[in-house]
């Protein structure tokens, strides 16, 4: 392939023509910088500081304890359980959402008529808040009034997401994955359109059937899109799904659906164990930083809007 004569980014290589003003640029960055410092860096610094403090049970005295909170949190079975829950939840959500979306995108590539209509109907859930997605699914599957739960029971399945942890997890994953199908679908469609048609035609002429063409040509060429989506979906499942957990299960039954973010919220806001909550915040920060680093290092693409 011949590279285009002038890459759109060439402007960044040659020294730019700029305006000579000395004060104006500071005024222009001031609003964003002020908000960033007050609402991002200051609280993040506080989280670091508090993660090394411990209060006595009455909140009267505070002691600096270095990394004791981290040791305590990481040795806590409830926290380890929450890590396990989060890994299961995130992987299941990412895999389900991506498989369904890839299948639909491949199908959408095949049809000629009605393509636009299909796309319009498939992107709806993107606009639904995760918490509402969770509530809609719980409405359908809740044991006392849910119509689909009623159907499951009439098939003889003892379905009860309010008491059974596995059922609760299945419900959360369904709602979270459902919400994410639209996003993945759009990216897979864009990825499929970028696969050179000549390559596919050449393979077809060599006698490769449709299934073989998909697995040997299209799927490998989709790898960057797939990897990008894997990271985005993991970040989504880790953080944006707080609403689903809070609205649907509240971490229960037992602690079977208590994800890491839900636990930070619960320990800090409901149980008021400040040191532990702050230590958990810092651990989460490390997770986000590594995920973002992976994304930029290997995918060189940006995270979702946020």
């Amino acid at each position: 392939m011949v590279p285009p004569a002038s890459s759109p980014r060439s402007g960044s290589v040659t020294p730019r023509v700029v305006f000579p003003n000395k004060v104006l640029p500071y005024l222009l960055v001031a609003p964003q910088l002020a908000i960033t410092l007050v609402f991002f860096y200051w609280p993040a610094g506080q989280a670091f500081y508090q993660s090394m403090l411990r209060q006595d049970p009455f909140g009267l005295r505070t002691k600096f304890v270095w990394f004791a909170n981290f040791r305590k949190v990481l040795a806590d079975p409830a926290y380890l359980n929450s890590i396990k829950v989060t890994v299961v939840f995130s992987l299941a959500t990412a895999i389900v959402a991506m498989c369904v979306a890839l299948l639909l995108a491949v199908m959408a590539e095949k049809v000629v008529r009605g393509k636009g209509l299909y796309r319009t109907l498939l992107i709806w859930p993107y606009a639904v808040a995760p918490a509402i997605a969770g509530m809609l699914w719980l409405f359908l599957f809740n044991p006392s009034i849910g119509s689909l739960a009623y159907m499951l029971r009439s098939f003889g399945i003892a379905w009860d997401p309010l008491l059974n942890g596995t059922h609760a997890m299945i419900l959360l994953v369904s709602a979270a994955a459902w919400k994410q199908i639209s996003y993945n679908f759009l990216f897979f469609v864009a990825g499929l359109q970028a696969v050179p048609k000549a390559l596919i035609e050449a393979a077809a002429m060599d006698g490769a059937g449709e299934t073989k063409r998909f697995w040997t040509i299209i799927f490998p060429l989709l790898a960057p899109t797939t990897f990008f989506l894997l990271v985005v979906n993991t970040v989504y499942a880790l953080f944006d799904t707080f609403g689903i957990v809070h609205a649907v299960t509240g971490g229960g039954p037992g602690k079977t659906t208590e994800t890491l973010v839900y636990k930070v919220y619960n320990d800090g806001f409901v149980n008021l164990i400040l040191g532990d909550s702050a230590a958990q915040s810092v651990i989460l920060m490390v997770i986000v930083i590594s995920l973002t680093a992976i994304q930029f290092r290997y995918v060189e693409r940006k995270v979702h809007y946020g």
């Binding site: 402007g11 960044s12 040659t14 730019r16 023509v17 700029v18 305006f19 000395k22 640029p25 500071y26 222009l28 960055v29 964003q32 908000i35 410092l37 007050v38 991002f40 860096y41 200051w42 609280p43 993040a44 989280a47 369904v100 639909l104 199908m107 095949k110 049809v111 319009t120 498939l122 992107i123 709806w124 859930p125 993107y126 606009a127 639904v128 808040a129 509402i132 699914w137 409405f139 009034i145 119509s147 739960a149 009623y150 159907m151 459902w178 199908i181 077809a204 449709e210 800090g268 806001f269 702050a278 915040s281 810092v282 989460l284 920060m285 693409r301 940006k302 995270v303 809007y305 946020g306």
Partner: protein, 282 residues
């Protein structure tokens, strides 16, 4: 184009229709439930077609005031949510286009420091700094205010990065020509840069509006009074799966009113929405 057997085309259509059923069914069923009486909802299975309570339920929810959420009408909740979503979309675009403008078209000490300070906020989502941020909000008296709902969410790196990337594609000759013609930085910004950024702004607006509308953790933290709730939070408060006295028909109406506006934005502004999602990822 490779020929394809009619059977495979039929299968493709069938799969897509199945996909749409899965994707649309929860939303459709919510609409059905929002037009039934409470008694019908409490006795599953629910009919597959809408009932006759549309006007009753919607007018009760919109103008009656629902007990569970402190007597606040859904109209008020919609207003709060709209203000928050618009405020976040407009505010984010405003502050990030300015900072990107400064970083690309000016040279000044600490320029890259500022860029990195903004960039790193990508890694500090609100979820990892819940309590300290809440404390800052209390200290600044921003609990239960629109400013509190909006301002902390409008600083983020992504919009700035997007504008920066777009500005870097604008040829230096354009800046030079503008300067030769005697245009100052403001003139250049308003007469050349803004018109060129129109599609980017539209795309970003759709994405950010949805982002603002669907927020959950933040409004949960900074609103105590029922008057300031967003519709998503209020909906959560209306639902109780333990008690039998949840007003399901009104919950379903509220759910519909909470999801229809953002769906309309996505569907009607589809071109910009898809562009905003896919382009920003490059």
């Amino acid at each position: 184009m490779i020929g394809q057997s009619p059977l495979r085309t039929v299968i493709a259509h069938a799969m897509l229709i199945l996909g749409i059923l899965i994707v649309a069914f929860p939303i459709y069923y919510t609409f059905v439930a929002s037009t039934q009486t409470l008694q019908t909802i409490l006795r599953p299975p629910l009919p597959l077609l809408p009932g006759d309570q549309f006007w009753n339920n919607y007018s009760e929810a919109l103008f009656g005031g629902v007990g569970r959420i402190g007597g606040v009408s859904v109209g008020r909740l919609l207003l709060n949510t709209t203000i928050m979503a618009l405020g976040i979309a407009v505010g984010k675009i405003f502050i990030s286009i300015l900072s990107a403008y400064a970083i690309v078209f000016f040279r000044f000490p600490l320029r890259m420091t500022f860029f990195w300070l903004i960039f790193i906020t990508l890694m500090l989502p609100v979820e990892v700094r819940i309590l300290p941020t809440y404390k800052v909000m209390v200290d600044l008296g921003m609990i239960d205010t629109y400013a509190g709902l909006i301002i902390p969410l409008i600083a983020s790196a992504t919009a700035t990065l997007l504008f920066r990337q777009f500005f870097m594609t604008i040829p230096g000759e354009l800046v030079e020509a503008a300067r030769v013609d005697g245009a100052g930085p403001w003139r250049f910004f308003f007469d050349i840069l803004l018109p060129l950024s129109r599609t980017n702004i539209a795309a970003l607006f759709v994405i950010l509006f949805i982002y603002g509308w669907t927020q959950y953790l933040w409004p949960l933290l900074v609103t105590n009074s029922s008057n300031m709730n967003t519709i998503v939070i209020a909906l959560r408060k209306m639902v109780s799966f333990a008690d039998a006295d949840t007003q399901w028909h009104l919950v379903m109406v509220t759910a519909m009113l909470a999801i229809v506006p953002p769906i309309l934005v996505v569907v009607l502004m589809q071109r910009w929405f898809v562009r905003g999602l896919v382009d920003s990822e490059k």
